[in-house]
Each structure stands twice: as structure tokens, then as C-alpha cells.
Amino acid sequence: MGFSEGGRTGGGRPARLVIADDHDFVRSGIKVMLSGEAGLQIVGEATDGQEALELCGRERPDLALMDVRMPRMDGLTATRSIKRSFPEISVLILTMHENEDYLLEAVKAGAAGYVLKDAPQQELVTAIRKVLEGEVTLNRRLATGLLRRLANDARGAAAPRTEAGRSGPAQPLTARELEVLEHVALGQTNREIAQEFVISVGTVKNHVEHVIAKLEASDRTQAAVRALELRLIDFPRS
């Protein structure tokens, strides 16, 4: 399945990416990794968060690969800004190691997930694809942990850490969509959800896409986060 099928890219055009990292060899390394992938096209590079933000504004990529530690504006700040201004752009955080805190922050900031900088090529490509297709991008455990924390924060925090201006979804979610969303929040794949509800994968995907759209999220992870923040769903106490 290529990138051109389904997902956002719809209609065969390759997905457009930007890379933001303050080290040039990191950028070139990633470029190397991604060269040869037909469905991916790198349309720009940024050396700091500010540049990344401007670049996204200009190029409107499908996905931004974002390093965290960058001068002038760090990756999370940039991610937030990008999500505020261009919510349809997905962001994947580039990290050197898996750290819950990092990742939680990243997800809260709006990232779809993360990918390790030294990941093998296939992993990198798969991660990007998944995001673009709206699939789960975080490994199960991490996802669960993160989402639990999110739920706690949502419950316990004095003020919900919503982005300024965001109140509720433009359109309310249907009951079915909420159900599916709950399972997304559990970290289940589309296939798993399809089996759960005894519906087709395609139907699940459609629900997920609708939810993403209604919540104005860029991907399923963000949709789950949004729903939790808005208390549309509560983290299932399983």
C-alpha cells in the first residue's frame, strides 16, 4: 500500500514533508533514509522552530518532522504554533530516546507521535506512513501510559490545558464515533477496533477520519487527546 492510497494524500500524489533540526547531518541523514521512497517528498528544511513554523506556513506540508531542542524556538513550541495555525499538518517529533515525559509533552503539544533519530529506515518510513494514514503511531504501552496521564491531567488539572480559543468540536460526535474514539484512546489499531465492533476496517477508518475532522485534529492521537481534554470521553478505567 503506498502513500497515495487512502489517508490524507488521497489521489496518488506523494506526501510532502518538512524536516526541522538544528544539526545538518541529522537532516541529511534523514533525507538519505527517505530518498528512494516514492510516496514521500521533502519539500523543505528548517534549522529551528521559528523557521519550521514559517516553512509550514509557506509550504503547507502534510507532515513535519520536528526535532525538540532547537535554538530560538524549540520543537514543542513550534509544534504548538504549527498546530494552532495549521492544524491539518501532522507533526512527528524526532527524539534521541524514548522518554515518557518528552513524549507526553510532545503529544500534548500536538504531535502525532515520535520517531527515534537513529531508527532503522523501515521504521522511519512506517512511522511516517502511519501518521499520514491515520494509524496508531505510538507503541501500545507508551500510548496507554500517555493517555492515562492525559486523562489524569484532564481530571485533576485546575484548568484544562486547552489551546486558547478551543472550546468544543464544531460538530458533535455521534455515539458510534465516540465509541470508536474511546478505543482509539485505548491505543487499538483500526483492525482491532473493526474486530471489536464487527464492522469493516474501512468503516472504522471512516469513523476515525470523521472524528479527526470534527475535532480538528491532525491525526488519531491528537483526536484522542482532544477528546480527553474536552472530556468528551473519559479514559476507560480498565
Binding site: 544539526h23 547531518f25 541529522v26 541529511s28 541523514g29 534523514i30 538519505v32 533514509m33 530518498s35 528512494g36 525538540v68 531542542r69 535554538p71 530560538r72 524556538m73 524549540d74 514543542l76 513550541t77 504548538r80 504554533s81 534521541m96 530516546h97 522518554n99 515525559d101 518528552y102 507526553l104 509533552e105 533519530k117 537513529d118 532503522p120 529506515q121 496521564r149 489524569n152 491531567d153 485533576g156 488539572a157 485546575a158
Partner: protein, 866 residues
């Protein structure tokens, strides 16, 4: 004739010598045939025989023959008594009585007369003549009534007839020779054994004016009468001057155990104790020479063999023809003598005991309340001589109210013995002695006498007082030892030491001074200084003493006069020796008792204990301090290591790891797009890939467990991450900030504040047990403020943090250091039980230029113009 006694001679009318020349047949009546029978020994016992006088007259006699056994050699003893014939007998009886009476009358000093049957005066005592002025011969044969005053005749006649015996009559007047009238009392005694016509009352006339003497004389008369007639209470004997017994009264048996008959013809001297025989002999001799009685004492042998003490009175009746012997009056005074001896001995013993007694003993005459005797111990106690004491009364030596003395005397008299109790007696020098007094009643001669024992207990009391004090001191020292050994808190040590000292020695004040950096003693701790006058310690004596102690290390004693002159204070300075140097001075101020040796010793020992305890405390403090510093250093070391590791990790993370990853990626790319042709090339590439992979792996390890810091996300985010983590762990923690989400502060500020926050939150986690934590980050006018508030146990910021691990102490210190480096302030407020608040403020530079790499981006367009 071998021998004859005087009576025999008299009765027979011979001189003794003459009688010796005659034979027995000369004195026996030849006409009396019964003599032959008697002499033959056929009849014994009392025989009625006649004896012949020298003038040839014969008289009857009771005769007893003794001895003269048929064997020759045994002399015959003839004991005879005149047995006058009927009429003669009566006459003789009368004569004998008359003789006796005459003797009596004559011996009595008062005038006495004997009446004959016709009431004529038959005999007059010489004293009649003295009283009435007549010679006795002139009055013989006349009637006594002729001498009586006519007016008294009636009563005189009546009395004469009544012949009352022993009664004294009313005084009658008798005519003196010179014509005057003499008043005389009459006492009529009928001395004859039976009534007869020939009775002859004896009239004792006495001078009315000498009545007392007369009564006494009557007594004596009766005594004599008794002595003569054998009715004596004591034994009476008639003896020759050489001691031969003529007659012994029956009472003899009671005194000496011999029947009176046994003694006749025996010699008294034979019974006398050999040691006193000579004296007895001389007594008889003297008595025979003198007219009046002679008294003596000697021991005589009782029939049972024991010696009896006898008091003896010998009267001379030798010249009295009817007596012709010495009258010896004996009284057994053995018991008396023994009693006297015992008494003497016991008195001697008593005296010895009293004299040697440790207790003072004195005797008081109750009636006169004067001191009769006093022993040596009392003299010593009171400082008087015995003579001086005998001139005093108890009131003079008892230092209590006289009424109480009298009360005690009365009580003792009633109860016979009493324990008066502890009293104070006054010495000669006026000082007081403590005595324990017992009193008892003794009889001394025949007066009521108190024996008072006054035991000097001043010494005992002093000892008791000393003992009590020593015990108190001992207990205090023990307590001091316990206290000093139980604490290492210098404050406590010193305060307690000073308190103990005060208690033990009755001090007014105690001060510990320590040398300051200039070598001057400065007060460190004190107790009771408010009790001294203000400048007391600055008196020259005190200053010198302190100096001397510091220099020489010897204790110093001095005295201070109070400014009002109200008293003297004793000051004592002792060195506080720690190890081999004198670290300070212990000053003690108190009453005179402080100057005593034992007070100095006690204080010295306390000071030594305290000095060692202080030294211990100091060493411990030093040790603790060193340990703390060590812990600090170790903590810092750990932290430094930690930080270094982290720094390295971050550097690796930032640099090496990424480079390695990128290198790996490039190499992979190369391997994909430009695979080597040759096998060698491929092998080389594979190897290169492997190496790079390893590098990546190692780098991974290094950067493992790195947590995001403020560097990564910004201070605000980082704080949020931290607080979120704590919330995860269940703490109720919230975070507020007036910073925008993306707002950044200068890197150094962010790093420092983040680290501080981390430490503070770690503390919260470890110690506070707080239910709630509140974190704030605010940007204020020109500065950033970080606040962390917890509602945990809290602590006293000033107190040393006991039990803190090195991390905490390091934490607090390093926090302060960081902030100080930034020119900020670090404030910790806490109260036990109320939680803690950490407030850090750091100044922010006016502008916020990016200091990181690539600072300043110059975009210049190079145009044809420039």
C-alpha cells in the same frame, strides 16, 4: 584459894590478898554439914549453903560448884550469891534497891532524892545541894515537906501520898538555904519492884527552867536503869578493868551468840579481834581512870566464828561499891559498818564513774537550786572550773528561760527520771553549746538532789550537719556527673552546671568566662548575677583573680565588700582546664562558707567535670561539624558527579549520539544507493555499518534515562512536566505561571530555576509529607520569581538539619549558590508544623537577546549600491 573476884571479896568482907591466904574452909560455915556433901561432889546444881564473912557473921547463899573433878588438878569453882534470911533478905533487897537507887540518883544531873518509908529523905543527890544550897547531910532525915512552901504543901502532900510514878507534877516551891524560893518540878518514880511499906519513892526534882535538859536526862536515866537491870537493847556487861566479865546481860546472846552465863569469868578481851585488842585494852584502862564513859569500836568474835563490829561504851562504876566494875554497853554495828563500807565503796565507784564520764554530770540541790557537784566533762564543755560551777545555779548555765528550767525540774521530780532533750547551755565565754540533757532524782544525804547529765552534742550536731551537707554535696555531684554525661549540648551543660553549683554551695552567683580573641575573659554564661551588686565583678580583686587564674591556672580566693558596706562576699575563681590549656574561668560568689576547704574542693571537682564535659561537647561539635562538611562535600561530589554525568550525557545526546545516528543513516543510504562492487568493498561497508551501529548503541546507553530539562522545553513546560509527574505519584500539586506557554527566560535563569525547582520538589517528596504543593513561576518587574509552597511538616530554618542526608543539605546550599551567582535572592520560610515556602527571585536583564549559538542574524542584501 586460887582466885576470887571482887564481888566475892566484898561479900565475904576480905581483901583479895587476904582471901587468897585463907582456904575455902575459912569462908564456909563450919556448922553447915551440907558443905561436905557439896564438896564431895554428890550434889550439884544450886545449893543452899552458908558462908562466913571475915567478921564471923554468916550468911546464906546460893552456891554452884563447878569443876573439881575427883581427879586432882581441876580447880573448884565456887559461884555464890547471897541469899539473905527472910527478914534480912527483905532488908537486903531493900538495901540493894536503895543502893541502886542511890546510884541512879547520884548519876542523874538533876537533883534527886530518895525517900524512906516515913517520907523522910534518906538520900540526896549532890545536885540537890547545888539547887537548894544545902549540903546533902543537912537534909537527911527531915521531911521533904518541910522544904516546901506553905502554900504548896497541900498539893505536895497529896502527891506524895498518891506516889504517882513517872508523872511530873505541878511545880512546887522549895526553900533555898538562903531563904529564897526555888520552883521545882517533881517526877516521882517508884523504883522498887513491889509494893511494900518500905517503899521508897524517888523524887526527881527538876528546875522548871531546865525542862529540856530534864527530859533528856530522864531518857538517859531510863537507859541507865535498863543498862543496869539487864533490859538493854544492846548487850551490857560488867567487867573488871582487865576485861574479866563479871556479869553479862541476856541480850548478849543476841549480839555475840554467847549465853550470858558462858561469859562470866571470861575475859572480854579474848573475844576482841587481835588487831584491836590493844585498843580495847586501852579503852578499859582509860575508862577505869576517867570518870565519864569512853566510847570505842572494835570487832568481836561471834559464837559462830564471824567477826562483828561493835560500838562500845564503857562507863566507870568501879568506885561504886554495889557495882564495882566497868559497865560495858555493846551495840552490834556490823551491818551498819558493812553498809557504810558498801556505801563508801559505791560512793567511790559512783564518784569514779561520774568523774570519768564523757558526759557532763552535775548535781543540783532542788531546794536551793544550787549546783553541788560538777564533773570534769561538764567543766570542759562549759569552760568553768568545778569550783566556779559550784558557785552557780542551773539558770546560769542553761540558755533557756528560767521558767522552763523550773518546769523541767518539777517534771523530773514527779517522774523520777526524765529525758529533757536537746538544749543549749551557755559557756563561760558566752557561746552556746548544744547538749542532750537527762535528769534524775538522787538522794544525797537527806536532801532532794537532781543528777543532771548534759551530753555535749555540739560535736555530734556539727558532724550531723557536715554529714548532711556532704550527702547533699555527694548527691549533687552524682547528679552533676549524670547530667554532664547525658548531654552534649553546651548550653545545657553550662546552665545545669551552674545551677548545681549554686545549689551545692549556696552560691549567690556563678559565671563562666571564656577568653576571647584578644585574650580577655568575657562572660559566656552566668547564673544569679542579678543577685550581686552591679559592678561586683569588676572590682579589682575580681579582675585580678580572673587574670591570675588564666595565667597561672591556680584557683583564687578573694573577698569583696559590698558598696553599702552591708556585707562581704567571698569570690572564688577556678580554672576551666580543657586538655592542656585553660579555656576559661569559673567564678563563684557566695557567703563565707565558700571559703572553706571543702567548698573549694567541691567546686573544683565540679569545674573539672564541667570542663571535661564542655571539651567533649566541643569535640563532638567539631566532629559533627566535620561530618557535616564531609557529608556536604560528598553530597557535592555526588552532585558534581551526577551533574558531570548528566552534562556528558547531554553533550553526547546533543552531539555524539546524533552524529553517530546520522552517520549510521548516511552509511545506510550509501549502502543502499551505492553498494560496493567488490566483495571487499561490501565487507568493508558492512563493517563500517556495524561499527557505526555500535557507536549508536553505546551512545544510547550513555543518554539513557535522561530526563527532559528546561533546556529542552523551556522552564514553564519543564515545570509542568515535573508537577505532572508528582501528580501521577499522587501528590496534590498544582502549577501556576503568568508566563506564556512558549515564553522563555534566559538560559542560565531557566536552568538555575529549574534545578532549584527540582531540588525543592525532591525535598517535598522526601520530607514534607505534604498533602498539597503549590508551584508558581511568575515574571515580575525585571525579575522572575519561583515559588514552591508545601503544607508538610516544616522545619526550623535556623536549626541544624538533623537527619538530613547529604543531598538535602547540599540542595539548600547549592540552591543558594546558584541563585547567588545569578544575583538573585533565595528565601526559605518554614515553621515546624506549618510547611515551607521557597521563594527564589532572579533579576532579568532588560532585553532578552538570544545568547545561544547563532546569536544575531544579519541579513544584508548585497546590492549594486553597497
Amino acid at each position: 584459894m586460887l582466885d576470887a573476884n571482887a564481888s566475892a571479896c566484898v561479900l565475904l568482907g576480905y581483901e583479895r590478898d587476904e582471901l587468897m591466904e585463907r582456904g575455902l574452909n575459912h569462908v564456909t560455915d563450919p556448922t553447915d554439914e551440907r558443905w561436905e556433901v557439896a564438896l564431895s561432889g554428890q550434889e550439884r546444881g544450886e545449893l543452899d549453903l552458908r558462908l562466913r564473912r571475915s567478921d564471923g557473921s554468916v550468911f546464906a547463899a546460893w552456891v554452884v560448884l563447878t569443876g573439881g573433878a575427883e581427879n586432882d588438878g581441876d580447880p573448884l569453882g565456887v559461884v555464890f550469891r547471897e541469899r539473905p534470911l527472910e527478914a534480912e533478905a527483905e532488908q537486903r533487897e531493900q538495901d540493894a534497891a536503895a543502893r541502886v537507887c542511890r546510884v541512879l540518883v547520884d548519876t542523874v544531873p538533876d537533883p534527886g532524892v530518895l525517900y524512906g518509908a516515913d517520907n523522910t529523905l534518906s538520900h540526896l543527890s549532890p545536885s540537890v545541894g547545888q539547887v537548894l544550897g544545902y549540903d546533902p547531910e543537912e537534909l537527911l532525915g527531915i521531911s521533904a515537906l518541910d522544904l516546901v512552901h506553905p502554900e504548896d504543901l497541900a498539893s505536895a502532900a497529896h502527891e506524895a501520898r498518891a506516889a504517882a510514878s513517872g508523872k511530873s507534877s505541878s511545880p512546887l516551891r522549895y526553900r533555898h538555904k538562903d531563904g529564897s524560893w526555888v520552883h521545882l518540878e517533881k517526877v516521882t518514880s517508884n523504883l522498887l519492884p513491889h509494893d511494900s511499906n518500905a517503899e521508897g519513892p524517888v523524887v526527881d526534882s527538876r528546875d522548871f527552867a531546865e525542862r529540856e535538859r530534864a527530859e533528856d536526862a530522864l531518857r538517859q536515866t531510863r537507859d541507865r536503869y535498863r543498862a543496869l537491870v539487864g533490859d538493854s537493847l544492846g548487850a551490857m556487861a560488867m567487867v573488871e578493868p582487865d576485861g574479866a566479865v563479871v556479869y553479862a546481860s541476856p541480850a548478849f546472846e543476841g549480839v555475840l551468840g554467847y549465853a550470858s552465863e558462858e561469859l562470866i569469868e571470861k575475859n572480854v578481851l579474848d573475844y576482841v579481834h587481835p588487831e584491836e585488842e590493844q585498843r580495847a585494852r586501852e579503852t578499859f584502862v582509860e575508862a577505869s581512870r576517867s570518870g565519864g564513859p569512853v566510847a570505842s569500836e572494835f570487832r568481836m568474835r561471834h559464837a559462830d566464828g564471824s567477826w562483828r563490829h561493835l560500838r562500845v561504851r564503857v562507863s566507870n562504876y568501879l568506885d561504886d561499891p554495889s557495882v564495882g566494875a566497868l559497865i560495858v554497853d555493846l551495840n552490834d554495828v556490823t551491818k551498819q559498818k558493812k553498809a557504810e563500807e558498801a556505801l563508801r565503796q559505791s560512793e567511790g565507784r559512783y564518784r569514779a564513774v561520774v568523774e570519768q564520764a564523757n558526759e557532763g554530770i552535775y548535781l543540783v540541790d532542788v531546794q536551793t537550786m544550787s549546783i553541788l557537784e560538777a564533773n570534769a566533762a561538764l567543766c570542759d564543755t562549759l569552760g568553768y572550773t568545778a569550783d566556779e560551777l559550784r558557785r552557780l545555779k542551773p539558770y546560769d548555765i542553761v540558755a533557756h528561760e528560767p521558767e522552763s528550767v523550773d518546769r523541767n525540774v518539777r517534771r523530773t521530780l514527779e517522774e523520777k527520771r526524765s529525758h529533757i532533750g536537746e538544749q543549749k547551755y551557755r559557756r563561760k565565754d558566752g557561746s552556746l553549746a548544744d547538749v542532750d540533757v537527762y535528769a534524775g532524782v538522787v538522794s544525797h544525804a537527806d536532801r532532794a538532789v537532781l543528777s543532771v547529765v548534759a551530753q555535749d552534742v555540739s560535736g555530734r550536731k556539727r558532724t550531723e550537719e557536715n554529714l548532711r551537707r556532704s550527702l547533699g554535696v555527694l548527691l549533687a555531684l552524682r547528679e552533676a556527673g549524670q547530667i554532664l554525661g547525658s548531654t552534649l549540648e553546651t548550653e545545657e551543660i553550662v546552665t545545669r552546671l551552674l545551677t548545681i553549683m549554686r545549689g551545692v554551695s549556696g552560691l549567690t552567683a556563678a559565671v563562666i568566662s571564656v577568653e576571647d580573641e584578644f585574650g580577655q575573659p568575657k562572660i559566656w554564661r552566668e547564673v544569679g548575677l542579678e543577685g550581686l551588686w552591679r559592678k561586683a565583678r569588676y572590682a579589682s580583686h575580681a579582675e585580678e583573680a580572673r587574670r591570675a587564674v588564666l595565667d597561672a591556672g591556680e584557683h583564687q580566693l578573694f573577698r569583696l565588700q559590698s558598696p553599702e558596706g552591708s556585707g562581704q562576699l567571698v569570690g572564688l575563681c577556678l580554672p576551666l582546664r580543657m586538655k592542656d590549656r585553660i579555656a576559661g574561668v569559673l567564678e563563684a560568689y557566695g557567703p563565707e562558707s565558700l571559703a572553706g576547704d571543702d567548698a573549694v574542693d567541691i567546686l573544683r571537682s565540679l569545674a573539672a567535670q564541667a570542663a571535661s564535659a564542655l571539651e567533649n561537647a566541643r569535640l563532638y561539635g567539631e566532629l559533627a561539624e566535620r561530618e557535616r562538611r564531609l557529608a556536604d562535600l560528598i553530597g557535592q561530589l555526588f552532585t558534581a558527579q551526577e551533574e558531570e554525568r548528566r552534562r556528558v550525557a547531554y553533550e553526547v545526546h546533543d552531539g555524539l549520539a546524533q552524529v553517530a545516528a546520522a552517520a549510521h543513516q548516511h552509511l545506510q543510504g550509501f549502502a543502499r544507493f551505492h553498494p560496493p562492487d567488490s566483495e571487499d568493498g561490501q565487507a568493508l561497508l558492512s563493517q563500517a555499518l556495524e561499527l557505526v551501529q555500535r557507536t549508536v548503541g553505546e551512545a544510547r546507553r550513555v543518554i539513557a534515562n535522561l530526563r527532559p530539562t528546561a533546556d529542552d522545553f523551556g522552564l514553564g513546560t519543564a515545570l509542568r512536566i515535573e508537577t505532572d509527574r508528582l501528580r501521577e505519584e499522587g501528590y496534590r500539586i498544582d502549577y501556576e505561571s503568568n508566563l506564556d506557554e512558549d515564553e522563555r527566560l534566559p538560559v542560565a535563569v531557566e536552568t538555575a530555576l529549574f534545578r532549584i525547582a527540582q531540588e525543592a520538589l525532591t525535598n517535598v517528596r522526601r520530607h514534607a509529607g505534604s498533602p498539597r504543593v503549590h508551584v508558581t513561576l511568575d515574571r515580575l518587574e525585571g525579575r522572575a520569581r519561583l515559588g514552591i509552597r508545601d503544607w508538610g511538616r516544616g522545619f526550623d530554618p535556623a536549626a541544624p538539619r538533623v537527619g538530613d542526608g547529604p543531598g538535602e543539605r547540599v540542595g539548600l546550599n547549592s540552591m543558594q549558590e546558584r541563585v547567588a551567582l545569578l544575583g538573585g535572592s533565595f528565601l526559605v520560610k518554614s515553621r515546624p508544623g506549618l510547611g515551607a515556602l521557597v521563594t527564589v527571585e532572579v533579576p532579568l536583564p532588560a532585553e532578552e537577546p538570544d545568547k545561544d549559538e547563532g546569536s544575531g542574524l544579519l541579513i544584508a542584501e548585497l546590492g549594486e549600491d553597497s
